[in-house]
């Protein structure tokens, strides 16, 4: 690690040199032309809840100016809302280059106190950068790096280090029926837990794919249930249980492509009748039991390879 990176501030500063403007900017830019009226700008700013917008030449797409909410207020005060943007905009424009380090943009913001900077690449407008974009991006990146660092220094081989005659760790998640905004939350949280425990990447992947398919089944088909990840030193057990309605013909439900999912589920990219098969393919052992009127229980067991140098009693 480079010197100076030990402090949070040093790390943040390093990051502003590491990131390029194009990685931080918003590339969906709303623009106006010099021929538009200030009234049009006012409506546009309000509609998109933005405080300014670049002005682009209608003929060649060149950036010719910038118009902000302050210009609109001035125009309103002087009763010139029908005037063209070309006469009211600020020009020439201070811009920032897409390939420049973020630090350069931060310096420009500090120097000019602008609310936004148009981003150009070889003279063409490619995006817009606000101080808010910068803060959001820095926070996201710092958080991700922090998570990665936690994962790196995680208590690897935690099971071998915990001493007991029977160690098992249970992670249980409640799964609501038909709650599509949260579908996948349980599998995601389980996955992050397994990563934190330092388990092998491919095992984590198989376990969470099985968990996710099982969770989707609970969300789509059942009245609600639970997803459980039970960890032992030698294996992970993923168990999905629900409180009904149960599967009338389990053999049939296991056939690839057999589905009872409604069309709107299929439009989301699910419901192709592959879920149970996927679970089975991810698992070293697979069990399913179902009773109509009672519920369904699906279990997938994945064996954990003992890590080097460890001795796991079977």
């Amino acid at each position: 690690m480079a010197e100076g990176a030990a402090t949070g501030l040093g790390r943040l500063q390093e990051l502003t040199y590491e990131l390029r403007v194009e990685q931080v900017m918003s590339s969906q830019v709303i623009t106006v032309t010099p021929e538009d009226t200030m009234q049009y700008v006012k409506d546009l700013l309000r509609q998109h809840r933005i405080s300014g917008t670049p002005v682009i030449s209608a003929s060649d797409g060149r950036l010719v100016g910038i118009v902000s909410v302050e210009d609109v207020i001035k125009a309103a005060d002087s009763g010139s809302m029908r005037e063209r943007v070309g006469r009211k905009m600020s020009s020439p424009v201070i811009t920032v280059d897409a390939k420049e380090p973020l630090a350069e943009a931060i310096k420009k913001f500090a120097r000019h106190k602008f609310g936004r900077l148009p981003v150009v690449d070889r003279g063409q407008l490619v995006g817009i950068l606000t101080p808010g974009d910068i803060i959001a991006r820095l926070l996201v990146t710092l958080e991700r790096r922090y998570r990665e660092e936690v994962a790196r220094t995680a208590p690897h081989r935690v099971f071998e280090e915990l001493s007991s005659d029977d160690t098992h760790l249970i992670l249980r998640y409640l799964v609501e029926a038909r709650d599509f905004t949260r579908a996948g939350d349980a599998a995601t949280r389980l996955r992050r837990g397994l990563v934190l425990l330092g388990l092998d990447q491919e095992v984590v992947r198989r376990a969470t794919v099985a968990a996710y398919e099982a969770e989707m089944n609970i969300v789509i088909h059942s009245v609600g249930g639970k997803l459980t990840g039970e960890l032992r030193p030698e294996r992970i057990l993923i168990r999905a249980t629900d409180d009904g309605p149960g599967i009338p013909d389990v053999e049939r439900a296991l056939e690839p492509g057999f589905t009872t999912a409604p069309d709107w589920i299929r439009e989301l990219g699910f419901g192709a009748g592959m879920g149970l098969n996927n679970i089975r393919n991810c698992a070293d052992e697979f069990r399913i039991e179902s009773q109509v009127g009672v519920g369904t229980c699906v279990e997938a067991v994945l064996y954990l390879a003992p890590s080097e140098g460890s001795q796991v009693e079977g």
């Binding site: 990685q23 599998a187 995601t188 996710y212 398919e213 699910f270 192709a272 592959m274």
Partner: protein, 128 residues
């Protein structure tokens, strides 16, 4: 293949705030069926899809997808972008169709997820 190269080949636009061009994609997968993504991809796979709903990102995180490319110029809704950033899966958008986008990447050396199929002759695969 680095994401910067994917972006160049597909003339793709970055549509989320967590893009890092130096990240490597090990293989590619084109699918509009999320169960197929779960069944056939490996950790480090690049996903090309026409689906833009947030569930794509849950699937992507669970399957260890390295980045998602939306084809046919599709733009993701704000919730999808939010999820992408929260789950640290960068999003790209290309104007090419699914077929053409996959073809271009494959021709440039990005292998498929089926480890049995050989990559294009001039390419050394990460899976071989």
């Amino acid at each position: 293949m680095k994401l910067d190269e994917v972006r160049r080949i597909l003339e793709a636009e970055v549509v989320s705030g967590n893009y890092e061009g130096s990240v490597e994609a090990q293989a590619g997968c084109g699918a509009d069926l999320l169960s197929d993504v779960l069944a056939f991809t490996h950790t480090g796979t690049l996903l090309l899809t026409g689906l833009v709903n947030p569930q794509v990102l849950v699937t992507a995180e669970v399957a260890g997808i390295v980045a998602v490319v939306f084809v046919r110029g599709k733009r993701p809704p704000a919730e999808t972008v939010r999820q992408a950033e929260e789950r640290n899966v960068p999003l790209l958008s290309t104007h090419y169709t699914m077929f053409e986008a996959c073809g271009r990447l494959y021709a440039a050396g990005l292998v498929g997820c089926d480890r049995r199929s050989p990559p294009p002759r001039h390419v050394t695969s990460a899976w071989m």
